[in-house]
Symmetry: C2
Subunit: 216 residues, 2 copies
């Protein structure tokens, strides 16, 4: 298909598609004349993922480029491509290593992962630390500095709930046929389901609060 059709089918303006092409977020079409190129279903799929990352997830262009590069590492297996792509997502500020609370938070996070049997997240040993692990440590430091509950026992029920969520997440991913589509869906759904989860939590809290404290 031509650029105009790619734009119509994706709902992304031709100007934005050209911008994504210039930024390397979308691979070039097959040149047919000096000024025209031909695009295919893979462009359409990739464009969908780019929109999920940039327009919905508000992920900076540089990070999005890293995520997309990771998806294309053909010599990695599906699990590693998925891991590398999710690692490239933004994870917020890194923990402040000069803060003594960071060491304590690392200990708590490590114990939590041990207890769950999540021993492959790079939390220890010679593998690099997963950015989501650092994100967890930063969150525990914030809780502990402000004196809110953040002991192993406080965090465990949340981790167990996320374990069940991850099973649902991967079930959705496995509905897609090819490993390429699966890895793309995993990254998109990680990002797109975050506001779903946070809004449902706030609604569930309102409901639970009404049940416990509510008058009429």
């Amino acid at each position: 298909m031509r650029l105009a059709e790619l734009s119509a089918r994706s709902g992304v303006s031709t100007a934005t598609i050209k911008y994504y092409l210039r930024e390397g977020l979308l691979h070039p079409g097959r040149r047919i004349t000096v000024t025209q190129a031909e695009y295919d279903e893979e462009h359409l799929r990739r464009l969908r993922l780019v929109r999920a990352l940039i327009q919905v997830g508000r992920i900076p262009v540089n990070s999005a480029r890293e995520v997309l590069a990771a998806l294309q590492e053909e010599d990695l297996d599906r699990n590693r491509r998925l891991g590398v792509a999710v690692w490239a997502l933004p994870h917020g500020p890194a923990p402040d290593e000069s803060d003594p609370a960071t060491e304590a938070a690392r200990r708590t996070a490590g114990q939590l992962l041990d207890r769950l049997g999540w021993n492959h997240c790079g939390a220890s040993g010679d593998t690099p630390t997963a950015p989501a692990y650092d994100m967890l440590v930063t969150a525990i430091v914030a809780l502990s500095r402000l004196g809110y509950p953040c002991a192993l026992e406080d965090l465990e029920p949340y981790a167990r709930a996320m374990q069940r969520i991850a099973v649902t997440d991967l079930d959705v991913v496995e509905r897609y046929e090819t490993p390429d589509e699966q890895v793309e869906a995993a990254v998109a759904l990680t990002v797109l389901y975050e506001p779903v989860l946070l809004s449902l939590r706030r609604l569930a809290e309102a409901e639970e609060s009404r049940r416990r404290f509510g008058g009429k």
Copy 2:
């Protein structure tokens, strides 16, 4: 205590405390001389919440002021104060009502809440719509526009998981003694546990992916 002690005990600089006082995020201390004021434990507690909202939650000062105002509505019961305070938190962009996908998303969200028996979230009837409900609708629109799963059956397992999370959340809130402290904790923990949940989900996904797709 004097300003210097409030600063030392809270870990917030005196300049920042003065800024919070000017912005009305912290109520004035009891004047003892023209230049000095006396602060108490309630200032310390409030300062902790302000830091949770602004420094950790990155909530704009105006929204934080609204949240704090809601906490002080003494004529509301605990459930309503909690609701009003959480409603004042930022919830991202409102749904685009001119988009036909929004109507379909509202229908899905409404069916989901019906199925869960969450009938008090302002999703229908004459009560105003909860901002978390609009946040959910916006998220469903984004999923549907990009062709990702967002039917009632896709969303339900996430809602059930958040229902369990909300029970844990409110159990933590009930550890605090007074209604004032409980409402403050509910707001702070809504914000502070969001990065905990999102990071744990990413770690759990990595673990589940390794289990299903992982090689060595």
